[in-house]
Amino acid sequence: MSEKKQQVSRRQFLNYTLTGVGGFMAAGMLAPMLRMAVDPVLKPSAAGDFVNVGLAVEDITTEPQRVDWLVEQVDGWYESEVSRSAWVFKDENDNIKALSPICKHLGCVVSWEGSEDYPNEFFCPCHDGRYYKDGTNVPNTPPLEPLDEYEQKVENGMLFLGMAKPRGEA
């Protein structure tokens, strides 16, 4: 039998079919497995969960005050309550600001006027990191970025806070 006359030889045909059937079996096996593995990426974002932090808007002054609250954190099958805290105040334009107290240097906790030497600033005791009142890092101190800001909204005169986002994204 001359193979030149035929477009596809019998052996080629069998090889193609074998590849096709093998591909089908591989795809059939792996498709559900891969979909399962990438599920976290494809799940809709759970952001936008605002929590009442128990602070009435009229109680917010221009002086930063620390608020602590608990959020329900759901990690797959594991549910836990985690505490969050923020420094809340009204800026000169009367807008509410809620700053995360996590220092952008190494993640210590900053406090308002935490050092008597630096009034009107946030101060991190770990490595003397400092931030101006609006959260901007003081140049030439260890932190390189401004403090994160919480997403916020006001409902029924109460302050609700969401996730902490880097400046510019909140």
Partner: protein
């Protein structure tokens, strides 16, 4: 008696050619430390494999006690460290073996590099070897998290944050690694456990097999 059993099996299965094929090959003079002491540099590859065997065995036994769950992972490690006879040695072997295997791989790589042993026709085997190196680093990264202590948790946090900074697909890589958008937690631990215990070792075995087959086919690179 043993010889009889062997003959009985050999008559039916003809196993002699199989193991002879592994056992019968020549070892040239220049890699033999008995003839040239400097040939000890050729031991690093074999020692790497030896440590890999230690890692596999100690890892298999560690999973008899270890639980990949954030509530119990640390407690199970603490328990086996403090309550189980010799378990501290087994975990120690796994812990230190992880470091020693990197050192041995590093030395083996340097030996091959400085001797130019990766040149034609051995390019493919070099690339397989570098892939093995990457797999080892991956095993180190995923294994580090499993005891679920502070060191593990925060180092993984940093590693995942670094992955997040990759342009365009960074957040997706982070979620894929951590199993959740924002939390390094229960789903991260199970994911890392699966990768550390099943996925990467499977890849490692395949690459090691190719590595050894290529050495046997091509032979050890000649003396300089």
């Amino acid at each position: 008696m043993l010889q009889k059993i062997y003959d009985w099996i050999d008559e039916r299965v003809d196993v002699t050619p199989i193991w002879r094929d592994i056992a019968d090959h020549e070892v040239p003079e220049h890699v033999n430390p008995a003839h040239h002491f400097s040939a000890f540099v050729y031991c690093f590859g074999g020692l790497t494999f030896f440590v890999v065997v230690i890692q596999i065995l100690s890892g298999m036994f560690l999973t008899m006690y270890y639980v990949p769950d954030i509530e119990n992972a640390w407690k199970s490690v603490y328990y086996l460290q403090t309550e189980v006879a010799h378990a501290q040695i087994v975990r120690g072997m796994h812990h230190w073996g992880a470091s020693v295997v990197i050192v041995m791989l590093f030395l083996h790589t340097l030996r091959v590099f400085f001797q130019g042993a990766y040149k034609k026709p051995r390019e493919l085997n070099w690339m397989v070897g570098v892939l093995i190196f990457f797999i080892m680093l991956g095993l180190g990264f995923t294994g580090y998290l499993l005891p679920w202590d502070n060191k593990a948790y925060f180092a993984t946090q940093v590693g995942i944050e670094i992955a997040e900074q990759v342009p365009l697909i960074g957040p997706e890589i982070k979620t894929l690694l951590a199993g959740d958008e924002n939390i390094v937690g229960a789903q991260t631990l199970t994911r890392f456990f699966a990768i550390h215990v099943f996925f990467l070792p499977a890849a490692l075995f395949a690459l090691l097999a190719v590595h050894f087959l290529l050495i046997r086919r091509q032979g050890i690179a000649g003396p300089l």
